[in-house]
Symmetry: C2
Subunit: 430 residues, 2 copies
Amino acid sequence: MTEPLRVALAGLGTVGAGVVRLLETNGELIARRAGRPIEVVAVSARDRSKDRGIDISGFDWVDDPAELARHPKADVIVELVGGSDGPALALARAALGAGKNFVTANKAMVAHHGLELARAAESAGVALKYEAAVAGGIPVIKGLREGAAANAIDSVYGILNGTCNFILSKMEAEGRDFDDILSEAQALGYAEADPSFDIDGIDAAHKLSILASLAFGAKPSFDDVVITGVRHVIAADIAEAASLGYRIRLLGIADASGGGLMQRVHPYLVPMDHPMAHVLSSTNAVVAEGNFVGRLFFQGAGAGDGPTASAVVADLIDIARGEFGPPYAMPVDSLAAMAPADTGERRGRDYLRFTVADKVGVLAEIAAAMRDAGVSIESLMQRGAMPDGSVLVAIVTHEGPERCVAAALEKLRGSPSLVGEPMWMHILEN
Amino acid sequence: MTEPLRVALAGLGTVGAGVVRLLETNGELIARRAGRPIEVVAVSARDRSKDRGIDISGFDWVDDPAELARHPKADVIVELVGGSDGPALALARAALGAGKNFVTANKAMVAHHGLELARAAESAGVALKYEAAVAGGIPVIKGLREGAAANAIDSVYGILNGTCNFILSKMEAEGRDFDDILSEAQALGYAEADPSFDIDGIDAAHKLSILASLAFGAKPSFDDVVITGVRHVIAADIAEAASLGYRIRLLGIADASGGGLMQRVHPYLVPMDHPMAHVLSSTNAVVAEGNFVGRLFFQGAGAGDGPTASAVVADLIDIARGEFGPPYAMPVDSLAAMAPADTGERRGRDYLRFTVADKVGVLAEIAAAMRDAGVSIESLMQRGAMPDGSVLVAIVTHEGPERCVAAALEKLRGSPSLVGEPMWMHILEN
């Protein structure tokens, strides 16, 4: 057997400890598959004495994670510290600068600094790998980079945030409202004390922009992702959607089929005969639509120590085998700078929900705004009064350009008939 | 840009023509992703003058496919001829013997001769790749070989034959019987004139044995696959299953969790909350259960020129990038010879359907046979007389060992109360 691949590991939270445990548990098997053993030689974390359920006494301890980049024995640095900048970025720059292979699970850092880091990896001739940054254990980076590599990709989209899918699935199953489920999820540790990154769609947007770069050979442009989270989905939306044959899912969608690059994270109505509708609880899933392969669908655990460690070690195995290429599947200079698409021109069907005052003429006002903006209504449901006396009006439009719907909502803005903001969700076509 | 990867292609049926078309259509993109162009230099097929909708005038024409192995310009030979032996195997041996990389979509050949060919590839230091042999366009070979490489795999299973899934989905949607749908599928060209390879489970078994080798690092053992097809599933089975919350799917299942290797292709009852239940029509899907990643689920088109060409060209891109390793993910000598598992010891729930004569005492006879064999009954449904006067009795067992069910059926064998053979299907647990 040849020399082992030697790993220095920054961050010993649940994922870091999971990587150590995985390499111990499956070590013999991994050595057979990788052609050589993979062993941890050094670690860095905040607290040396914390009990993590793993034995770290055999590893060199380094206080400053950035020091790992200069560890003489390490062939590859694994970064599991997190955060788009700060110590994670410092370590990434130091590692690639020192000509070390680099593996990370850090979606925020890759979304914001991926291009710079890919350039550094390229000029050093080393690996920059980040399978664990998107959709946890699902090998979707590999699926796009290699599995679907023969295809021009029309669109890539997915359920990229487990917390949101957990909340939406539970709202649906139990008929309860968002805040109620969020509190429960926080109490159970399924949602962060500050859940904004998850429920406002930022986390999904980080992952989406990474997928979009790979799928379309495009320069990363996280700032162009248009983001709405799930905060404003109410139980009644889910019930209305169900009555129409849909489930609500927070999707990240990137589409390059219409000229320009559309990147958006929004709650969508997903038809029941689409596989995304059957992705439950905190499971993640990704679809890639290729011009020859058609629809590829990948599903699995999007987070957790085991699945994320599985993805990190898959990257290490690729490095051990010497099977890695450019981080974005092609050299950085081949990546295209794609302008954001004009979403106003996107044609599709939409769901609109208004909470309105229970008085004469409100329906006429809404219908007139739709008509004047050129929005054709496929169905309209008005439900009896809510506890506070307001009324729900839910509309599904015929297919048309988004700018018309936006114009209709603009007309209605500030109308005294409306109680609160209208809810606008796109409908995913199967 | 470096030298192109030069391809000699044997077989210009729908898939072969699809590969030529794909390389033309996406050629520029593929060159960017692969780091160099991929071009066809020579082809071989039965009929030179047939109109395939592609221009082959720029390729060298070779009458005998085995001659392609000696084509001076070819870096890689692609075999799309089919058949486990004959010209396909002759070409494979010649190509690997001549030190050429080899790509194939031929599941029968890989299932029967994979070990020999892998050994030849290994000693020549060239690639043997076969992504297209299993589940068409879905990158499931890559998913197991690389994506899930960090895991010990407990089980791998899937919907591996599109024709069977098309028939079962249509039986379910339309309440019609098997023969009826099969005739229609044949008329539409969705099923072969001789459909036996598909509907009797042989095709799925070929694919399953390939997946099992990769997943478990086991020597291929196609002869150990226990196979039942879908011929004996009747509309009433599908209706009974639906009333219990299941759909019937032909699954290939390989499991190494209980000591020994279980490989079987049977129709299963799949619970509605399992993603396999939502795989419709001719779509394929594969699950791998890993000890760290949990359940990975891959779904996509299992056949057709576009998807299959996509998988063939993905293999070519890996070769162009120099990113390929041992065909079974580890050297042939590292593969374990695994004995077949004793399925009698498998514990699970089962579905049994008897067609019986409508007379006194039949139910008692069946119930007594179950009791005497130690089979515990969870539910039993008896449905009114069929047009021919016979009666259906459907049973779902509690969890227990399979040998007890086998013993109960053995007791009932030849009973004059039974009209035709009983139907026995396992229930997939979620």
